[in-house]
Every structure is written in structure tokens, then in C-alpha cells.
Amino acid sequence: MSGETIDLAVVGAGPAGMAAAATAADLGLDVRLLDEQPWPGGQIHRGVDRLAGPKTTDDPDRAAGRALLHALRQSKADYRPRTCVWHVGPGDDGVFELGLRCDGAVALLRARHVLLATGSVERAMPIPGWTLPGVMTAGAAQSMLKASGLCPEGPIVMAGSGPLLYLCADQLAAVGADIRALLDTTPRGRYFRALRDLPAALRAPAVLRRGLGLLRAPARRGIPVHRHVEAVEAVGDLGVTGVRWRRGGRWDQTDCDHLLLHQGVQPHINLPRLAGCAMEWDDVQHCWKPETDDWGRSTVPGCWVAGDGAGIAGGEAASDFGRLAALGVAADLGALTREEAGRRATSHNRALAPLLAVRPFLDNLYRPDRAFMLPADGTLACRCEEMTAGDIRKAVADGCHAIEAVKQYTRCGMGACQGRMCGSTVPEVIADARGVPVSAVGTYSQRTPVKPLPLTELAKLDTVLNPPSTETAA
């Protein structure tokens, strides 16, 4: 292994990572930006470097993405696409070690500071039939459209809750998608409860206006919207052929070739968890997130978290959080005085204020509904190991109370996805079965490698990695 040590390794080339890498490099730091995708932008700015998107209600994101990309390309940051980070943790001398894999070759990188900007993943929506071909997340369909200009062919049904569902419906409809129904599972009463947070949200009229425009977009495009849907099922054998749903106690159904699901997003915490960052439960967003200070500093010295990976605030906020973390790192490394960092932070914090003011309203409105987090006994909770919610309930009944015990017993969370798909459902089912709050159950611990790695490749590394922390929150 080369003894090369850089100042800052940024993981994830979405808005937080791009902004952080450019800012830190402009301050003279030796920065490497690592990203698994072949192209920069993360999920929100996918394809920003090449494809002219369809004309939709929602264009401001594209301009923001182009500006971020331009700043990154102007900077001296060393951007590495197709690079999977399968290990991160402090080495013996306090310098971070990152295990990388690019084009089938593994390597180790040493960095004084590491910024984890791994964004969010869509929360699972484990309904009957959700593993059938033809069923995918709304975000996945949106990615295909943004990155490749592809659209599902034939009749489509969309189901779930949250702004992305409406945005995706609008974008797909704009290119002529045949959306037969939008099944909104946001429960009755949510709008009313969210109203108490409306005054604060009014500080961000532009954000609210954009949201309202989106909510009305499907109806304007002639897509039938069914609100307060209580249950959804994908029907089919080899692949999806239709969707059944219940509303006001009555079942209805329609044929389709595609079902796009969405149930909000949550921080992608596998790497912060592996690095040993302390986690906290966000009760309103109903998810775990790394504990961070105003600069994005985690509880592990030298390890920072920025963007949606530190708590969902959206792509626009993510870039400012990324810049704040870059300033923090630069100040710690002495590339910038504390005073100067503080002075520069002011403008970023000012930009963030309205974006954060609107969060309580959105978060309360789109709080995930228990009905879609607690699948029936026969429904798969874990796609990789094919464990049903009933299997998990049985494990709890057999005495497995801690999440790690359930994991050992059922193998949930030990498959290829390392808990990225079942990580929200399994704790929910355990908590429900034990009659305790889900925050008391904790979240899966993470081990190296966080992405499957052929052992033959791992063996080529001549350095022994320090075992990461494995304690759980339970």
C-alpha cells in the first residue's frame, strides 16, 4: 500500500459532497471525492451533466445541479467515479482508513478527515407482491428518466406518500407516461395536524408554493388521484399485472405493467454507523441519524456527516450543509481561522434558515404511516433472505428481543443489501411485537465490508483493517 495520506476524503458526489469537495479544495485542501456512480450528481442531480430533462413543474433543481457541477470541475478536487467505499474507520494513528474498490481493484486510502455525504435511501414499502418484476421505487423510475430518458412502457400505478411521489408522477406524465392511478397513502388527519407547523413554514413561501404546485400537478395532468388509501397490494405471478387497494374499507383494482412505490426517504447511515458515529432517533422523521453539531461534526473526531445522510432536509439544503462541513474541516486543519470560518458560515446558515423552517410542516405531514411499516405475517420484510414479517414475529416470540439476536436468528440484514432494504421494517416489527417504541430497538450494526466484496480481492490488501465498533443502540 502506498503511504499516501490526503487531507479530506468526501464520500458521495451528490449536492453535499460536490459542494463540500469544491469548497475544501478551493481552500487549499488535498481533497478526493469518491462516488459509486459512473457520473456525478447523486440521486437528485442525476444526469445533470448530459441530458436535457423534460419540461415539468419542477425545474429549479437542474440549474442548481449544473452550478454545483461547474464549481466542482473548476476546483482542484480529485473526483473518482465508480468507486465503492466498503470500509471507513480510524486507523491506529488516528488517520482514517478507507477501503475502496474501483473497476474490480481494491485499494486503501488514508485521510486526515472524512466527510460522509451518502444521502438518503427510500424507506421500504413492504406490501404483498413488492418483489415482483414491474414493481420498483418511484425514485428508481425517476433516476431512469433523469439519467437515461427512459420511461416505463404501458400502464403505471404509483402508490405511497411524500413529495417525491408527486414530483415523479409529474415528470413521468410530462414525457407521456400512462399513469392510471396515483394512490396517496397519507392518512386522514395528517394535513390537519401539520397545520400547527404552517406558520413557521410560511417563512419559506417559495418552498411551500413549489410543494403546493406539485400536489396539484397530477390532477392537472388528468391522473386520477385517490387519497387516504389504506392498503396496497401488487398482483401477479411472474411479474406485476395489477394493483389492488383499499380505501374507506372498500377494495378496488386496476391492471398495470408497473407499480412505483414511495414512502419517503431516510438517511443512508451504513457508513456513519460503520465509522462508529453515535446515532440519534428523530421522532418526527421517524429515522436514525448520526449526531452532528452545526458544522456536521460527528461524535468520531475527524469524521463529518453532511446532507440528507445527517437528517433529511432536501437537496437544496444539502449543498449548504456540505459547505459548512468543508469550512469546519478547513478550520480544524488550520487552512482557515475559526473567525473566518464563522464569518463565511453566516451566509450558508442564512440560506438554510427557510429550508429548515419548512421541515416540521413537511415532516409531520409525511410522517410514515404505521399501516405501511408493519406488514402482515405473510409479506416479505427482507427481500434478500426472504423473511416475512411473520418470521420476525416468531423470532421475537422465541425470545429474540435485541435486533442483533433477530438478525442472527433470521439472517435479516445479513444479505447482499446489508439491511438497506429491511433496515426500517425489521426494527418496526420487533418493536410492535415487544410493545416498545421503535427507538428502543435500535438499528443494525455494520461490519466491514458494507458492500459485498469478493474475498479474493480483499486478500490482495496487505494491511489489516481495524475491526470497527459493533455496539448497538439497543
Binding site: 457520473w39 418484476p133 430518458g149 416505463p152 411472474l238 432494504m421
Partner: protein, 103 residues
């Protein structure tokens, strides 16, 4: 409701400025954008299911398109179990799915 075979696919809705390359999906040539992923080629070709699950052999298809779910696994240029949503196509790339190799 039983199905004999599956025909679920995506279509090109937005034309792009970048060039085209030809890849093979289960032995059939298909033109794709040079900056598409192998998973995009699979969806355009309607080569679903691209994999059968390890435990029960149930049909699966790309689900997240962002490297998280591992449902897009396919054989690419002879290397099995590649995450097709993270691999950029190249001219002459050979992609093999479960649909093209029935067991």
C-alpha cells in the same frame, strides 16, 4: 392470474445528444445511449426477470437503481453477479440475465 411469460419494459422517452453503442442482452443486440447503465439496457430490452432469488428462485427485477438493493444483478462480460445499475455500458458489452438463461 397466471402468466406464461413476462413483457415488462421501459421505452426511450427523451432523445439524447450523446452517441449510441450496441450491447447484447441475452444474445440479442440492442442500441443504447453510450452513457446508459447496463440496468437501463436490461429494462429497455425487457429482459425481466434479470435474476431469480437465491432462497426461493422467485423472479426479481431492478428495484432501487441506486446501488442499494442488489436486485439488478446480472452477468456482464462473463463476470457474474454484477450490480447492473452501477455499470456503464460499452460497445459490444454482453449482458446475460435469468430470462435469457432459464434453469
Amino acid at each position: 392470474m397466471s402468466q406464461e411469460s413476462l413483457d415488462i419494459r421501459f421505452r426511450r422517452a427523451v432523445r439524447r445528444a450523446t452517441g449510441e453503442v450496441t450491447v447484447e442482452v441475452d444474445g440479442r443486440p440492442i442500441a443504447v445511449g453510450e452513457e446508459d447503465t447496463a440496468a437501463a439496457a436490461i429494462l429497455l430490452a425487457g429482459a425481466l426477470p434479470n435474476r431469480l432469488s437465491a432462497v426461493s428462485g422467485s423472479p426479481r427485477a431492478p428495484y432501487c437503481m441506486m446501488g442499494a438493493c442488489f436486485e439488478c444483478l446480472a452477468e456482464i462480460d462473463g463476470v457474474p453477479l454484477q450490480q447492473a445499475c452501477l455499470v456503464q455500458v460499452a460497445d459490444g458489452m454482453r449482458i446475460r440475465t435469468a430470462k435469457g438463461s432459464p434453469t
